[in-house]
């Protein structure tokens, strides 16, 4: 609704007086101010244009006859300028001998004219009429601008993805008219949809994250059992890890190159891959196999569940994720259960306390791995990244394995040794690719819950492959670990989250 009202017509306006005569200019200024308006004087056309560019005026009182830039030139310039063309101009002129000039000025866009020897009542009437027109035009322009803003907001939603902040309709909502109410309903609906979709996204993330956690944990949990089986078959640890990593690297790179072509990495990326290869491909893999010689696979897995708490602490310390009491309780519950097992000794076989404590280094290395994933080069896909890392680790450890005489040659006819190498290499590679996807989708803290599924799987694999058994206390600890699982939510979608609406255009038209 665009309506003028008497109140705004009477409101004070800011007036620019353009007159080369100091006396005429001041007379007009005093008259305008006596009517309650504010007035500024420009001594010539050029100065007037500068003042119009610098400040907003409601009305211009313009003398025609001026040296250099006269009133006509000012009018022409003002009408050319989009920002100035709607400011009403009242030409001040001597009627008796300048009637032709007035006509020309009105043709050039002047709103009205005022005789030089005007009466205050005439000045007041013309000023009010011009101000009313100006205000009506201002309201029209604001209405069209707001209408345009609302249409643009609708187009943003129609294009697909949106965030409520992008719609930028607050100014339109502030209007006290039907357009403002329409904008309010529009914004409200958009916000409702956004919130609903955000919640839905969180649910989907949680479900997908949980599936990934279970899958990756199950596969990764094989590690300790395989390490223990390797010990039973007297397979050298270094040689096993070098061959397993080599196989994992070949597997990943073959898949990645088939799907995406040869990965491109920079020198800076190489630094990251080297660090990652040392932490995970070398140290973690080697320690898993070595510690498995002394500690039951199910106990290693149980100790490994402390990783959830380690990641949470490290992520909070590095400000990667915001800590919350709920998450703290969830992770703390899991950790305390493991602490009880560590202190009491949960397995049937008495493990040497040293090796049990040494097993804590495994979740620590995995925590480090989870956290450094935040700096993973985005240009390299997950499969290629794991392939490069495992390959680098194999290259780094191969000379050591040769020096130790641990680098055996795989037999032409595959036996248990070869099967363990292949299963360890493939399971590490697949689990790491899944874990990487998990970190980028749900954040490091949620991904660290893989520690629990890995624990469950490790115990299951230990019982299945090695006939190990857990004590009642260890089972109780496990129940607590599972309970704590539900207290930790995945990282929520941030403000970058965009909602995508699919619209049926045919129905809309």
């Amino acid at each position: 609704m665009i309506q003028s009202d008497a109140e705004t017509e009477e409101a004070a306006g800011s007036v620019l007086i353009v007159d080369d005569s100091r006396v005429s200019g001041r007379k007009l200024s005093m008259a305008v101010r006596a009517l309650g308006h504010t007035a500024e004087i420009a001594g010539n056309g050029r100065q007037a244009m500068q003042m119009l560019a610098a400040k907003r005026f409601d009305v211009v009182l313009l003398d025609i006859v001026m040296p250099e830039m006269d009133g006509y030139a000012v009018l022409v310039e003002m009408k050319k300028d989009e920002a100035l063309r709607d400011i009403p101009v009242i030409v001040v002129s001597s009627l008796e001998d300048e009637i032709g000039s007035v006509a020309r000025a009105i043709e050039l866009g002047a709103e009205d004219f005022l005789p030089k020897d005007f009466e205050p009542t005439i000045l007041k009437a013309r000023m009010n009429a011009s101000l009313a027109r100006k205000r009506l035009r201002d309201r029209e322009l604001a209405y069209f601008r707001d209408m345009e803003r609302l249409t643009e907001a609708a187009q943003i939603i129609e294009r697909g993805a949106f965030r409520p902040s992008e719609l930028d309709v607050d100014r339109v909502v502030a209007r006290d008219d039907p357009l403002g109410r329409l904008a309010m309903v529009f914004r409200g609906l958009a916000e409702d949809i956004y919130e609903r979709e955000k919640r839905f996204d969180l649910t989907v993330r949680t479900l997908r994250g949980t599936l990934l956690v279970l899958a990756a944990g199950c596969i990764f949990g094989l590690g300790p059992a395989l390490g223990r089986m390797a010990a039973q078959h007297e397979i050298p640890a270094l040689g096993l890890v070098v061959w397993a990593n080599t196989f994992g690297a070949v597997l990943c790179l073959a898949v990645s190159i088939t799907r995406h072509g040869i990965p491109r990495i920079t020198l800076r990326d190489l630094g990251f891959f080297l660090f990652w290869a040392i932490v995970l491909g070398c140290l973690y893999q080697l320690f898993t196999v070595i510690i498995a010689r002394h500690v039951e696979a199910s106990l290693i897995s149980l100790v490994g569940s402390t990783r959830g708490f380690m990641v949470f602490l490290l992520a909070a310390l590095l400000s990667l994720e915001r800590p919350s009491l709920r998450r703290f309780l969830g992770l703390g519950l899991g950790f305390s259960a493991i602490a009880v097992v560590l202190l009491q000794g949960g397995g049937d076989v008495d493990a040497e306390f040293f090796w049990l404590v040494a097993a804590v280094v495994l979740p620590f290395l995995l925590s480090l791995h989870t956290l450094i994933m935040a700096w993973r080069p985005e240009s390299v896909d997950a499969t290629a990244a794991v392939g490069i890392m495992l390959g680098l680790a194999a290259v780094l450890m191969a000379p050591l394995a040769v020096a130790e005489g641990a680098l055996f040659l795989p037999a032409a006819a595959p036996g248990m040794r070869e099967v363990i190498v292949l299963v360890l290499g493939a399971s590490s590679a697949v689990a790491l690719v899944l874990a990487l996807r998990l970190v980028s989708m749900a954040g490091p803290v949620f991904a660290s819950q893989m520690a629990y599924s890995q624990t469950l799987a490790g115990i299951a694999w230990g019982m299945l492959l090695l006939g190990e058994q857990l004590s009642a206390l260890a089972w109780g600890a496990l129940a607590l670990v599972i309970a704590s699982f539900w207290l930790v939510e995945p990282r929520r979608a941030t403000d970058d989250f965009k909602v995508t609406l699919r619209m049926n255009r045919n129905k809309m038209r």
Binding site: D20, S21, R22, V23, S24, R26, K27, M30, A31, R33, A34, V65, M66, P67, S94, D97, K116, D117, F118, E119, P120, L123
Partner: protein, 133 residues
């Protein structure tokens, strides 16, 4: 002694001053300020007309005549305003430079007389008679 000769350049139309007082919101101080501006600028405008006629600059002559015409009328200097109107018209016609120079001299004299008369007007006493000198 009052000057009642309306054709005398020294005759000031008090009704014009009263209208001006009304225009500036009936504030005598504002009117006095405006009169002060006129008394300061008028000789300059007349001088500019003399200079413009001497240099043959018809535009500058016309603009100065136009401004002084409006100002003189506002302050009741009727005779001076009329002389300026005639000079403005002459500047746009075929009148020769000598005629413009003569007109400028007449205007300078009339301006001087009007300025003296206006300076003598008591702005506080405005409202009684319609003319003074």
């Amino acid at each position: 002694m009052k000057n009642e000769d309306v054709t005398d350049p020294g005759w000031i139309d008090r009704t014009a001053l009263l209208r001006l007082l009304n225009v500036v919101g009936n504030d005598p101080d504002e009117l006095a300020e405006l009169v002060g501006d006129y008394l300061e600028d008028a000789p300059d405008l007349a001088g500019r007309m003399i200079e413009a006629s001497a240099s043959g600059d018809r535009t500058a002559f016309r603009i100065a005549a136009h401004t002084l015409k409006s100002n003189a009328r506002d302050f009741g200097a009727v005779q001076l305003s009329e002389l300026c109107a005639a000079a403005e018209t002459a500047s746009t016609s075929d009148a020769n430079v000598a005629d413009l120079a003569a007109a400028a001299d007449d205007i300078a004299r009339a301006e001087q007389a009007a300025r003296k008369a206006l300076a003598d007007v008591s702005l506080e006493d405005l409202g009684g008679s319609t003319g003074t000198g």
